[in-house]
């Protein structure tokens, strides 16, 4: 029981569903989401981000700069300092005289790609491992849980740097590193959920009907994991984006000249006193995006389970 505001357990009124009959839990959640202004704003923002990422090319053509083009006439002072926002560069330039606006736009692409890909990869691994740990009894659980303990016991940032320094940085490595250190957390959640779902009567019902383990796992258990996993994914995406920024700060991020918000912010830290715009705009993009994903995650959670408060996933 987590509802505090409404009713004590025995008295939760039957909600009339005559207006919503026949709609799937997803449709219901969607209906609730549409009523949530915060979710709408965040959703719209994320869609916008997606569009910006998708149309980065045309947009940059419109603006007139490519993301790697170094404007050595108006883009830098003779001393090599970035140029402030002006008619040439609406949001100013970076340390190599490149247009910050265009780079922020292109950065959307990388940050989103890394964030989403890493989150999705982590979730996929986590779900599979967690499902196996939770479903197949104590012996398998013990082994798999130990494995997750090992991963969670790693000083992950240090290990990430070490790993990247050994294998060399690339987008793929970065996604892999983030996923590698995130899946165990997902795995734990899924394992916990699976353990509790396994005790549900409908699983027993399926067993009594003679359903196979595989059928039970995929037909009965998995659909019930979608909601928590979906929520966790929306929360993992911003974490991955910030993680990418941190890796860039530590010098093991995306390979230049490809812009990501992370490596822009990281580059900007040397000149933020002279060129606030260089830190501010990618910073705003990063914070707004993580905020949007986080708030949307909360809203999705609320929508999927209106009786659950906005809990933070552990």
């Amino acid at each position: 029981m987590s509802t505090t505001e409404l009713f004590e357990s025995a008295e939760v009124p039957t909600i009339d569903t005559s207006g919503t009959l026949g709609r799937s839990p997803w449709q219901l959640a969607w209906a609730r989401l549409r009523r949530d202004r915060v979710a709408l704003v965040c959703g719209a923002f994320i869609v916008l981000l997606g569009l910006v990422a998708a149309f980065a090319g045309p947009l940059s053509k419109l603006i007139g700069w490519s993301p790697t083009q170094q404007d050595r006439i108006n883009g830098l002072t003779p001393d090599g300092l970035p140029a402030p926002p002006s008619v040439h560069h609406l949001l100013g330039t970076d340390n190599l005289g490149r247009d910050v606006l265009v780079r922020v736009i292109y950065g959307t692409r990388v940050s989103l790609a890394v964030g989403v890909a890493a989150a999705v990869a982590a979730v996929l691994i986590g779900v599979i491992v967690g499902l196996i740990a939770g479903y197949f009894g104590p012996a398998v659980d013990a082994i798999v849980s130990r494995l997750m303990d090992v991963v969670l016991s790693f000083p992950f940032l240090l290990f990430a740097i070490a790993l990247v320094s050994v294998v060399g940085p690339s987008e793929l490595v970065e996604i892999g590193v983030i996923a590698f250190f995130s899946w165990a957390a997902v795995g734990r959640i899924v394992r916990g959920q699976t353990l509790s779902i396994r005790e549900k009567e409908y699983i027993e019902a399926a067993r009594s009907l003679g359903a196979s383990d595989r059928r039970i796992m995929f037909v009965d258990v998995l659909p019930n994991l979608v909601a928590p996993v979906l929520v966790y994914t929306t929360l993992l995406i911003p974490v991955s984006i910030v993680f990418e920024a941190t890796l860039s700060y530590l010098g093991v991020g995306i390979i230049p000249p490809t812009p990501s918000w992370g490596n822009m912010i990281s580059d900007a830290q040397d000149v933020y006193q002279q060129a606030w715009w260089f830190l501010l705009f990618p910073g705003i993009a990063l914070i707004a995006t993580t905020l949007a994903f986080n708030l949307l995650g909360d809203s999705v959670r609320d929508a999927l389970d209106p009786r659950t408060e906005r809990l933070f996933a552990k």
């Binding site: 569903t17 839990p25 009567e201 409908y202 399926a206 003679g210 359903a211 019930n224």
Partner: protein
């Protein structure tokens, strides 16, 4: 084993009239501790040696308090649990040693209806797919045929077939229980084990489901094992009733016989404790208040398990474990009664006897 010679209400019945024969059913749950290497530190003796026969076409009621093992027994009969010891013969086949694959045909013949109308239906699946599960799992019907069959079932249990695509959340508790009934009915099983099917429902809805179950039994010649803690419900639906206490069957009889002439002190106490929706009866009723609570099934009392709470307990009861015996006469060579009323008690309650502890 139960001496089973008596006459059922509708004439004699042949020997193969027993759908289920359970002999010496034992189910212990190990209590494990440990991080890597689990080791057993004890056992929950959920069911500890039960003999039981379910006759074709009857409703066998099982009553008892929390932790008496009635639900575990039900899951042993349906082989949802492997037995620790004992044997269950279903329709002539010993199912107690079959593996999962071998059990599959058996799964078609035995179905369960569960207690929790919320927990027993997967909230993420459509009703049509839930009811169609038995067809899908056993590969009986596909596509349009499955849909037609499911809709027939829905109609049968009083659900609107058009609601095929709805989700469990769209239904009230009573309607959900109908979904559970429809699912259980899909493969036309021989036996349905109902585990507290109406306990979670409000009285008015409870009556709907009981009526439904009864009419389905008539229409399809079903056999029910009906588990409940509500004595009046069991009285209403059952042909015979078994009373369980701490993993044991302590009394079994035809329903009217049991309710009118309970032999076991526990049954007597249980019946007297049950509420009655009749103020006059309530005022007149004399209650037997048992002392204490049900002991832990991890470490059950020696001898008769009821003896620490029994108003009639004597020294022998803490030593000698009583077995089910017909009648109330415990003298050697006593004539066995023929009504199938058996009791596991050294000192059964005689008609008219007043038990101590009444208020």
């Amino acid at each position: 084993m139960i001496e089973d010679t008596p006459q059922p209400p509708a004439g004699t019945r042949p020997a193969d009239d027993d759908l289920v024969r359970a002999t010496g059913v034992v189910k212990y749950f190990p209590i494990r501790r440990g991080i890597i290497f689990k080791h057993e530190i004890g056992q929950v003796r959920a069911v500890d040696g039960v003999d039981l026969t379910v006759r074709r076409g009857e409703t066998l009621g099982l009553v008892g308090e929390t932790g008496c093992g009635k639900s575990t027994l039900a899951r042993c009969l349906t082989r949802l649990y492997p037995l620790t010891a004992g044997q269950v013969v279903f329709d002539g086949t010993d199912i107690s040693t079959l593996n999962r694959g071998q059990l599959r045909p058996f799964r078609r013949d035995v179905q369960m209806i569960f207690q929790d109308p919320y927990g027993s239906l997967n909230p993420r699946r459509r009703v049509g797919s839930i009811i169609g599960d038995p067809f899908a799992i056993h590969g009986v019907a596909d596509g349009a045929e499955r849909k037609r069959k499911v809709q027939e079932l829905m109609e049968l249990v009083g659900l609107n077939p058009e609601h095929y695509n709805r989700f469990p959340a769209d239904f009230s508790g009573g309607q959900r229980q109908r979904i559970g009934v429809a699912r259980a009915l899909a493969l036309r099983p021989k036996l349905i084990v109902c585990d507290e099917p109406v306990s979670a429902l409000d009285v008015s809805i409870q009556a709907q489901i009981i009526n439904l179950l009864e009419s389905l039994q008539d229409d399809f010649g079903l056999t029910y094992v009906f588990i409940a803690h509500d004595l009046s419900v069991v009285e209403h639906v059952s042909d015979r009733v078994g009373v369980m206490y701490l993993g044991r069957l302590v009394e079994l009889a035809e329903v009217d016989e049991l309710y009118r002439h309970p032999h076991h002190p526990y049954t007597v106490a249980l019946l007297s404790a049950a509420g009655t929706p009749d103020p006059n009866k309530a005022r007149k009723r004399e209650r037997i208040l048992l002392t204490g609570d049900v002991p832990s099934p991890i470490d059950p009392p020696s001898g008769c398990r009821f003896h620490p709470r029994c108003p009639k307990a004597r020294d022998r009861c803490s030593v000698d474990d009583p077995v089910l015996m017909p009648g109330t006469d415990r003298r050697p060579g006593a004539e066995p009664t023929g009504d199938g009323h058996v009791t596991a008690c050294h000192y059964p309650v005689l008609p008219g006897e007043v038990l101590a502890g009444r208020t």
